[in-house]
């Protein structure tokens, strides 16, 4: 074995839907998938954590508002504070925002409709801070295009003007929705997100949230593989934490 096989924990909440796809995707990518139950504090010695998509607690009150109080989330918050890599996908992104681990919030799509389709996102900052380091700890170069699916009714990213200014200034916008050619405009903004933002980093660069679903886009037999670089970042960040 050349590289250690990192353990990737996937938290299942009541109403999670994409936990199994996430487990399968990280296994396909060469990691060891670990199921984490929302009601337990243990993250199963995971080296990285995924909060998957779905409709935890029926999206009652607000999306992610109730899931953030799950016992597992206390551990996720402590893990993130200690520098552990965390990826929130769709409902997982909403939970991270509600928990205050990521800035902003996700509200009802501009057009009211639930949107379910493949689209293109453009990498803005492959790692937080706008660095372009070599190696695997970046998702990609600025401008790189990834083909991924979305499926959500509440994915419109909003934040206060101050927060937005900080996100843009600090290089913490990870992805924007774009045309297949890479153009960012309202015509290719599926949900009315502010500045077409599809994903953001936390300040330390170890927590990433996005509305598109990388876990549905890893198997070349099933379609585009735009999710691979995103999960690859998580695996690399996790590997960096595995003692050699």
């Amino acid at each position: 074995m050349s590289e250690p096989r990192p353990r990737i924990g996937v938290v299942t909440f009541p109403g999670s839907l994409d936990d199994r796809d996430a487990l399968r995707a990280v296994a396909l990518m060469g990691a060891e998938p670990v199921s984490v139950w929302h009601a337990h504090r243990s993250l199963g010695d995971a080296d990285a954590v995924i909060l998957p998509g779905g409709f935890s607690y029926g999206d009652y009150l607000r999306t992610g508002a109730i899931a953030r109080f799950a016992p597992a989330m206390e551990s996720v918050a402590a893990f993130a504070a200690a520098g552990g890599p965390v990826l929130g996908i769709c409902n997982g992104f909403q939970i991270l925002c509600e928990a205050g681990l990521l800035p902003g919030a996700l509200v009802r799509n501009k057009g009211l409709a639930f949107v379910c389709r493949w689209l293109t996102i453009r990498v803005e900052n492959g790692e937080a801070g706008g660095h372009e380091s070599s190696g695997n700890l970046t998702i990609g170069r600025r401008g790189e295009l990834l083909s991924v699916p979305i499926k959500h009714g509440e994915g419109r990213f909003v934040a206060s003007p101050d927060t937005l200014e900080r996100l843009e200034g600090d290089g913490r916008v990870a992805f924007r929705y774009a045309s297949p050619g890479g153009e960012v405009s309202e015509d290719f903004n599926p949900n009315g997100s502010t500045a077409s933002i599809a994903g953001v980093w936390n300040e330390a660069g170890n927590v990433l949230g996005l509305m598109p679903h990388p876990e549905h886009a890893v198997d070349p037999d099933l379609g585009p593989t735009g999710g691979q670089p995103i999960l690859q970042w998580l695996l690399s960040a996790a590997r960096a934490r595995v003692p050699a």
């Binding site: 009150l61 509600e98 009802r108 799509n109 501009k110």
Partner: protein
């Protein structure tokens, strides 16, 4: 003492409310063509025990700040507070 409290939660001013827009767009089809500025919020009604009304209000404000509303996107307001029969008594009757 026991109180019934109604909290109103609404999207912040200036934040697009697609639900309100959809309702607004439907009204003219029923003949009401003079309506604009429709926004949809929600009411949360709850009952709680507290030493007095001020304490009840203070607790509801804290719950609203931390959980019932999201300050990033919403504002809240205590709409009504009324004293009700003690919760413990009504609970006993129910059992």
């Amino acid at each position: 003492m026991s109180y019934r409290v109604v909290v109103g939660v609404r999207l912040k001013e200036g934040l697009l409310d697609p639900q309100g827009k959809a309702v607004e767009a439907a009204l003219p089809s029923l003949g009401w063509t003079n309506v604009s500025g429709v926004r949809v919020g929600k009411e949360i009604e709850l009952e709680l025990d507290a030493p007095d009304e001020a304490a009840a209000r203070a607790q509801v404000v804290e719950m609203s700040e931390r959980f019932l509303s999201n300050p990033v996107i919403e504002t809240f307001e205590i709409l009504r507070v009324s004293e009700i029969m003690a919760l413990s008594q009504s609970n006993q009757k129910a059992t």
